[in-house]
Subunit: 395 residues, 2 copies
């Protein structure tokens, strides 16, 4: 009885969540310690202590009726101001509270933007490999997601692929750096190339093409700086989630940010405000919003992720696997040892290694290893990866 359009999408999708559930079943059979589950991006580093301290302080000190009551759909003015000031301080930007909308995470923000910007058949371009859920967000609002494939040697955007993906129906482009699933951070050169093409195409088509920068992993970078996109392109809409920076993905808190130079911003804010209501969000949860007044600068200890990355990256390279060195997020993209990455993942299960097939991310021939796991698990997995490798080499 469910909608045909949803049925089709369910039948065709490879759901990482299903793989994760399967992992739980395997863990029940073999014991959790005997399974190497690299399938899902559930943070493994403790939230900074200030998260809980702040929530308790708020519960103790604020009027309960006001705290738990309805704020404006776009969020508390003081929280929006606090986010704007944080961004201005960190990136030398020009935000003010009118350009900040609090949302229940980045996923919510993208769905809200889809409802705000897409008429039937409108197009959204993103760089592949990409977070598989982008397609669901876009198609739920009768839009089309058009992938622009990266160079698979470097995992950086490719100029030709990007330019040919754009059409007069392109309403926005989603860019995700540091990237899920590859862990790649797009270089300044890549960003310059992408935004130069966008500027040209905007002019050619005579209407704005927004660049939606999906940045949940912005604070999870290890050896380099992530270019901040508003410095390159005026029509940038930043979408952020605190899920990874504060290890609070279950609490659903993030924002949409636009500098005053974004074209038709007032119109966009009106549309976003309506969409927050029309999709049933009403507002981002209030306690989580107010918590940011204390936590906007806080961060998890990213050196822990970096250590785990190094164990796995070096370990897998030493065995002989081809991996792209990941500069950010907590994902490692590894070349499958056969063309069929789904089958390769099945073979890996025999060594009790669970990974996500690259095909789910439009990155066929590769697999995603989520390394938000304890170091012991990363270390203990290496002999299993070695056995898997040897099996393929001896075939």
């Amino acid at each position: 009885m469910i909608a045909k359009r949803l049925r089709e999408s369910l039948d065709s999708s490879i759901c990482i969540r299903d793989i994760f559930e399967e992992g739980k079943k395997l863990a029940a059979v073999y014991g959790a310690d005997n399974i190497f589950n690299f399938t899902i991006g559930n943070p493994s580093v403790e939230p900074p202590a200030i998260v809980n301290e702040s929530m308790k302080r708020i519960l103790d000190s604020e009027d309960a009726l006001a705290l738990h009551g309805y704020p404006a759909n776009v969020g508390y003015p003081e929280v929006r101001r606090c986010v704007a000031e944080h961004l201005n301080k960190t990136f030398g930007c020009n935000y003010d509270e009118n350009g900040i909308v609090m949302t229940a995470g980045a996923a919510a923000a993208i769905a809200i933007l889809c409802n705000t910007l897409l008429d039937m058949g409108d197009e959204v371009v993103t760089f592949a490999p990409y977070f598989w859920e982008y397609k669901s967000y876009v198609t739920s609002f009768y839009g089309r997601l058009v992938p622009a494939f990266c160079n698979m040697e470097t995992l950086q955007p490719d100029a030709w692929a990007f330019e040919t993906a754009l059409t007069p129906r392109t309403r926005f482009v989603i860019i995700n750096t540091p990237n899920n699933p590859t862990g790649a951070v797009y270089t300044k050169e890549s960003i310059k190339m992408v935004t130069d093409i966008l500027k040209r195409k905007q002019k050619e088509y005579g209407h704005p093409i927004y660049l939606v920068s999906d940045e949940p992993y912005r604070k999870l970078v290890y050896d380099m700086e992530v270019p901040y996109l508003t410095h390159y392109y005026r029509n940038t809409i930043v979408v952020y989630s605190y899920s990874k920076a504060l290890s609070v993905p279950g609490e659903r808190i993030g924002y949409i940010a636009m500098e005053p130079c974004v074209q038709d911003m007032e119109d966009l804010i009106a549309g976003i405000t309506a969409s927050i209501r029309y999709l049933g969000y009403v507002n981002a949860p209030t306690l989580q919003q107010r918590m940011l007044l204390d936590c906007v600068d806080a961060s998890v200890d990213i050196s822990i992720y970096k250590r785990t990355r190094d164990i796995l990256y070096e370990g897998l390279c030493d065995i002989g696997y081809t991996c792209i060195h990941p500069d950010g997020a907590f994902y490692l993209f590894v070349k499958a040892l056969e063309d069929d990455d789904s089958h390769f993942c099945e073979e890996a299960k025999k060594e009790r290694i669970l990974m996500a097939p690259g095909t789910a991310f439009s990155g066929p021939g590769w697999v995603r290893v989520s390394y938000c796991v304890p170091d012991e698990v990363a270390r203990a997995s290496l002999p299993a990866f070695k056995k898997l490798y040897d099996r393929y080499m001896n075939e």
Copy 2:
């Protein structure tokens, strides 16, 4: 640059939120104490103390990484079980955790059901007057909302209007009792009439028509019992929010509930789970979910709302206004003193009374008075209502 479909809906809608914002401006001019703002349903009764106590207990006692991490999309099994047991105990039902899905409130739940059940052009029927946002939820997913007008003497569903609103494209019916905006509680006879028609129509069309019971005001009833719909109709999907029962509307927590007898339930749950992801919800906020383990039985002191209702209902009737006696929610539906209810609301502003025009709820010729205000405000407003009445009578 926003979507045409959204632009049309923005241009045509009367937004109560705008009226509420206008109220704030008036308050700034005249002082908050000199404005009688009856426009929005922001609870005015303190949350039960256990809400904050529970949240603090959880923050103090649970592992932070697990507490703030991703749960399953449908919510924690123990929370879903707790909700099922509460419903079974209270209403003698047959729920189990598999039929409960935690959502970020009832608005989220309805949007999720729209995405799950509607293909383009599919229809949803609701009883008018109705909560204006229903139309936005349905049209965001390219569906059509078809109103079935109530008998405007009794504000109860009308058999003829309902039966003629149903077509083979009707996928579900939204019923909201106690009702926003009228405060009416639909009687057992009304429910029997509605469900008898649905049973007949299901058979005629050869497919299920779900009855979505939107119940945020279920605990806010003052003199009677609200019929529990699953006892009348097998294909009932209950949608609930704790916003009003616990005075926590900003925290966004509620659920979807289906008994095992609901047709194609397994399919529905799969579709709902996908929709939770596709619309960017991911999961209902985790702290708010876990809070329910302590608060599922708690409730605000509804005698306070009842007292305010009596002051206003009796006061307005004494002046000469025509009001329908409201048995539940915190809304009073009052006949405007002229045909044009929007103009009547403008006239009321001259007495510093802010109300929502019935037209916004497909209830033209009436106005909605939200009485979630302190008793003093209700009492102090009566002379202003009297002046307004006299002005119309002396014209």
